[in-house]
């Protein structure tokens, strides 16, 4: 059963087709259908990426015509020596470490719990997913009210029980944690829904059989639910990792990058658009692109290997 669900779909052996006319039409058709997407992808993803790659070797300015002067690897060496770049990279990594594990584990726990709820299941599903539909600006506004030092909601509540609240968004010891907390509340619903869907895919008979064999609820969860959610966990973790590494909106809106929270993407934005240094910004995004590629590649390799082990 396990093997069946995780085995890659087998491609049917290619049979030589004798009818020629439908065959050529059949060859062209997929490409035609792909063409609109292909054109857009080329125009808005591959093209700009290639352009960005070229720009990263020039001192291109936003407000000067043309590419500017070629500087070789100058942008990259300056970047590697820049404390600002490294600290922004550190901030993004910190945010990822604060958010990814919690968002994966907590959404799994909540999904398993909600899946067990008979009545009121819908209420919980709705409640956990609701924040996810809010735009980042709304989330930032709500939480900036709550996190306002002294007079904000959280400070008032903590004050009532005698706790002196820190300045959540102003104190570097707290700002990133506060933003990670907000992100947790905001985006948990997405992972939660993925897990819930996967849970509902697990056949009931397995639990019945296990129950007959004398497995208790905890054993059922540990031996059936978690192993069968393995693929979803791999997917959720990969998506979450990429989403966390791409963090920008909520930080930009809530602290503008102050208090040691500026993520690497805001560094790129600030350098390229605010400081007009498009060449340097391109170099930074190229470096970061490579880094994300590396992380996703490693993750893919790791999960592939585990897949194979499961099949064996």
């Amino acid at each position: 059963m396990t093997a069946a669900t995780v085995a890659p779909p087998r491609t049917p052996p290619s049979t030589s087709d004798t009818t020629t006319t439908p065959r050529t039409r059949g060859d062209a058709a997929p490409w035609l259908f792909l063409a609109p997407f292909g054109v857009l992808y080329l125009l808005f993803v591959l093209g700009p990426t290639a352009y960005g790659f070229v720009l990263s070797f020039f001192d291109t300015s936003l407000v000067r015509p043309g590419l500017g002067d070629a500087v070789g690897f100058g942008n990259f060496t300056a970047l590697l020596a820049s404390a600002d770049f490294w600290s922004s990279l550190g901030n993004t990594v910190r945010f990822t470490l604060f958010t990814t594990p919690v968002l994966v584990v907590l959404s799994l726990v909540l999904a398993v719990l909600v899946n067990r709820v008979g009545r009121g299941n819908r209420v919980f599903r709705f409640a956990f997913f609701l924040p996810y539909v809010l735009p980042s600006a709304t989330v930032a506004l709500i939480w900036m009210f709550i996190l306002t030092p002294d007079s904000g909601g959280l400070a008032t509540v903590l004050g009532a029980v005698g706790v002196d609240a820190p300045s959540w968004l102003g104190d570097p010891d707290w700002a990133m944690q506060a933003i990670a907390g907000v992100t947790l509340w905001w985006t948990l619903g997405f992972n939660f829904v993925l897990y819930l869907a996967a849970l509902q895919d697990i056949p009931r008979e397995l639990y019945e059989a296990a129950a007959i064999d004398g497995a208790g609820p905890w054993q059922q969860t540990a031996r059936i639910t978690f192993p069968l959610l393995h693929r979803t966990t791999a997917l959720v973790t990969a998506l979450q990792l990429i989403a966390s590494l791409k963090v920008f909106d909520q930080i930009y809106l809530m602290t503008m990058g102050a208090a040691d929270t500026r993520p690497v993407l805001e560094y790129v934005y600030d350098t390229g658009f605010t400081d007009y240094r498009v060449g340097a910004a391109s170099a930074a995004s190229m470096l970061y692109f490579l880094l994300i590629l590396l992380v996703s590649g490693l993750w893919l390799l790791a999960t592939r290997r585990r897949d194979r082990e499961v099949i064996r």
């Binding site: 001192d59 300015s61 936003l62 407000v63 000067r64 300056a78 820049s82 404390a83 600002d84 306002t148 030092p149 002294d150 007079s151 300045s167 968004l169 102003g170 104190d171 570097p172 010891d173 809530m254 602290t255 503008m256 990058g257 102050a258 208090a259 600030d270 658009f273 605010t274 400081d275 007009y276 240094r277």
Partner: protein, 437 residues
């Protein structure tokens, strides 16, 4: 089935063409073919999202009353670097507004980047505008290599707001109900302590959290008053900050909190609301917060930021009206007419707290009698602007990176020396970067 689908596709294609034809003159179509949307209309971008925005709206209404309801499209964008980023991109992208607000501290960078239309003497004459109509020093600081690129509107400085009721109880007012002059930091701290004894929760509030620009303004004022020279020299290619004085000024600011005179938790908004709620005797903030405080009905008045140390100085900046470069090469034409109208109506603007610099208004009897704003007029002569650099100016990288460290020092999260070291490191990095202008 196939036929049906073909028909459907054909119908859709026809419909699309029809839509496109019908859309001529719509924003979409004019955006696509780059024709002016409505040649009669002046598009104006500003960053007046604070209390001063309400006064700007009144001037816009006057203009619409005079020139027709559709004569002006005013857009207010978020203050600071988001605004300047959008403005630059709109000009580079060839879709700028006809006229926009630009801080004087940003103007020379915009002009040097070739983003602005030069206002030639002929153009100004044609619109009935003359440099002599403006406060001389402000007009001069708006010139770039002797050429005019913008029309200054005001001087917006840090000012001292005081609660007249609390200060009265603390014995800080003179017979006419105005704040007795405060000179020297000891006197100032004694005054703050007196207001606390008179029942105020805080002596002084000012923004500390999530507001790097305010932190920069306050730091720059105290630092310069202590005798510190410009933090940047040679157009920003050298860091000329006097580290000892800088650390000294941060230590002094921090002591206001440790002495219990001033909170280190206020933001831009809460500092104003604490003062407006009568919880603090003084507020140091930009003059542009005046309308918000007027609306709160708290009894207050304005005074210049007192001279606390050896040298009188206070941070200031000015708004100017600028005319983005256009590819067509047309002059600003109608937009210049709007600018003239705005300047003539800066009496309304002055109610927003900033000092007008258009002489007919500044020297008019109405303004001279307009308390409390007129009482901050001496600020004009001790105003300090940002040092020139490609990364300085309102909401700039310099303000943000310095302000962030100032905020840490004021909260006691970094020692003054560490904060100054971090400021120097950040600025040194920028000073070494070739200007992209």
């Amino acid at each position: 089935m196939t036929l049906n689908r073909r028909q459907a596709l054909k119908a859709m294609a026809l419909g699309g063409t029809a839509l496109a034809t019908a859309a001529c003159g719509s924003p979409l179509a004019s955006g696509l073919v780059a024709t002016p949307l409505e040649p009669e209309k002046v598009a104006f971008w500003n960053l007046w999202s604070g209390g001063d925005g309400a006064r700007a709206q009144q001037i816009f209404e006057r203009y619409r009353t005079a020139r027709g309801a559709g004569s002006l499209e005013a857009t207010t964008l978020a203050w600071g670097s988001p605004y300047y980023t959008k403005l630059s991109l709109s000009i580079v992208g060839g879709r700028p507004p006809d006229v926009a607000v630009c801080h004087l501290s940003r103007l020379s960078n915009f002009a040097r980047a070739g983003l602005l239309t030069e206002l030639t003497p002929a153009m100004l004459r044609g619109a009935g505008i003359d440099g002599a109509q403006f406060d001389t020093s402000v007009w001069r600081s708006g010139l770039v290599d002797g050429r005019a690129y913008g029309l200054p509107v005001d001087i917006g400085a840090l000012v001292l707001y005081y609660n007249t009721e609390i200060c009265g109880r603390a014995g800080l007012l003179d017979a006419s109900g105005r704040l007795k002059p405060i000179t020297g930091e000891a006197t100032f701290r004694a005054a703050l302590a007196a207001t606390r004894e008179a029942g105020a929760r805080w002596g002084l509030v000012s923004p500390v959290i999530a507001d790097p620009s305010s932190n920069w303004r306050i730091f720059d004022t105290v630092y310069t008053q202590m005798g510190g020279q410009d933090v940047l020299g040679d157009n920003g290619t050298r860091v000329t900050m006097d580290d000892r004085t800088a650390a000294e000024s941060l230590r002094w600011l921090r002591e206001l909190t440790t002495a219990g005179l001033s909170p280190d938790t206020a933001t831009d908004v809460t500092s104003v609301s604490l003062f407006a709620a009568g919880q603090s005797a003084f507020l140091v903030h930009g003059a542009w917060q005046t309308p918000t405080i007027v609306d709160s009905k708290v009894p207050f008045s304005l005074a210049p930021v007192p001279q606390l140390f050896e040298r009188p100085a206070v941070f200031a900046d000015s708004h100017a009206l600028v005319f983005p470069r256009t590819d067509s090469g047309d002059g600003p034409g109608r937009a210049l007419g709007f600018a003239k109208f705005f300047l003539e109506n800066t009496d309304v603007w002055a109610q927003g707290g900033s000092l007008p610099v258009y002489r007919p208004v500044l020297e008019g009897s109405w303004f001279r009698d307009y308390e409390p704003v007129a009482s901050t007029a001496p600020t004009k002569d001790i105003a300090i602007y940002d040092p020139p650099a490609w990364y300085s100016g309102a909401g700039s990288t310099m303000q943000t990176s310095v302000g962030a460290q100032v905020a840490l020092a004021r909260q006691g999260l970094a020692s003054p020396e560490d904060a100054v070291r971090a400021i120097r490191d950040a600025l040194t990095g920028y000073a070494a970067t070739p200007s992209p202008l």
